[in-house]
């Protein structure tokens, strides 16, 4: 699986306005809805599910990245987006450090295998120091998409 297969181009937010976790989640889910990947009527429910997921255990896995994700009945097709925060956001991360890059992933309820494959490709890239550094430095949507393309090509 490739990142570009599920990361919705138009939903990528290179400069998140939100400074806190929950508003940042809403900003990203709204962006997916605006791009047509999710019904607008589903935004609040999905945000609530993501917040609940974070409260059960932070998806801020350390090194400045968070991967909020949820399987939800209102999600018909797996989709994801990326948000970047210059100032950093408190995600109650495992290493207690602020989060600068957010990979948000929404999956339908009945496709756990596809969900795990997407998580696999996201984390395989987030493990790489260079990928994390370039992502943090990418200030435009174009720069982020270029980075994703390079990652998908195995560069």
């Amino acid at each position: 699986m490739k990142l570009r297969e599920f990361i919705v181009t138009d939903a990528v937010v290179p400069n998140l306005q939100a400074g806190d976790r929950d508003p940042a989640l809403r900003e990203l889910v709204s962006s997916l809805a605006a791009a047509g990947a999710l019904p607008k009527s589903a935004v609040e429910e999905v945000v609530a599910a993501l917040v609940k997921r974070e409260q059960n255990g932070s998806t801020g896995f350390g090194k400045g990245v968070a991967v909020p994700h949820v399987k939800h009945a209102k999600v018909k097709q797996m989709c994801g987006t990326i948000g970047r925060s210059a100032a950093g956001i408190d995600f109650s991360a495992l290493d207690h450090q602020p989060v600068f890059s957010i990979f948000l992933l929404l999956s339908p309820e009945n496709q756990p295998q596809q969900h795990l494959q997407a998580m696999n490709i996201v984390f395989s890239n987030l493990q790489k120091d260079m990928f994390r550094r370039f992502l943090r430095q990418a200030t435009t949507r174009e720069a982020i998409l270029e980075l994703l393309d390079e990652a998908d090509q195995g560069k």
């Binding site: 059960n56 255990g57 998806t59 896995f61 350390g62 991967v67 994700h69 495992l94 756990p112 295998q113 969900h115 795990l116 494959q117 998580m119 696999n120 984390f123 395989s124 987030l126 493990q127």
Partner: protein, 115 residues
């Protein structure tokens, strides 16, 4: 002449430092049985449990996309993308290896509290 137990004759104790002691190794093969697979929550639970022990923990997946994950790294455990039915080998290396393996295998047997 009294020599330190286990030390080679004629060598001071300090020379033992840096010599790699042979560590006990325990290993077990399991199959992921919960329907959602090893997603983030169970991966984190596994890492939390592994961190209760001093031993090194390694989880190996074979098949078409083989991968070896550090059982104390959440990221690497998620990269395994171990779906339901995936065979995994859990290996522990260290003095508390046996105890760690027992606890870690128990998590899989209990399906991480899922279905």
């Amino acid at each position: 002449m009294i020599r330190p137990v286990g030390g080679p004759p004629g060598l001071p104790l300090s020379s033992l430092h840096g010599v790699r002691r042979i560590m006990p190794i325990a290993s077990r093969d399991i199959i992921v049985s919960n329907s959602l697979g090893l997603h983030a929550r169970p991966a984190m639970e596994f890492v939390d449990t592994a961190n209760q022990f001093r031993c090194k923990v390694t989880v190996r997946k074979g098949g078409e996309e083989p991968y070896e994950a550090d059982g104390k790294s959440v990221m690497q455990m998620i990269i395994l993308a171990a779906t339901q039915g995936t065979p995994l080998q859990i290996q522990a290396e260290g003095d508390d290896a046996e105890a760690a393996i027992d606890k870690l295998v128990e998590l899989f047997e209990n399906k991480f509290g899922e279905e």
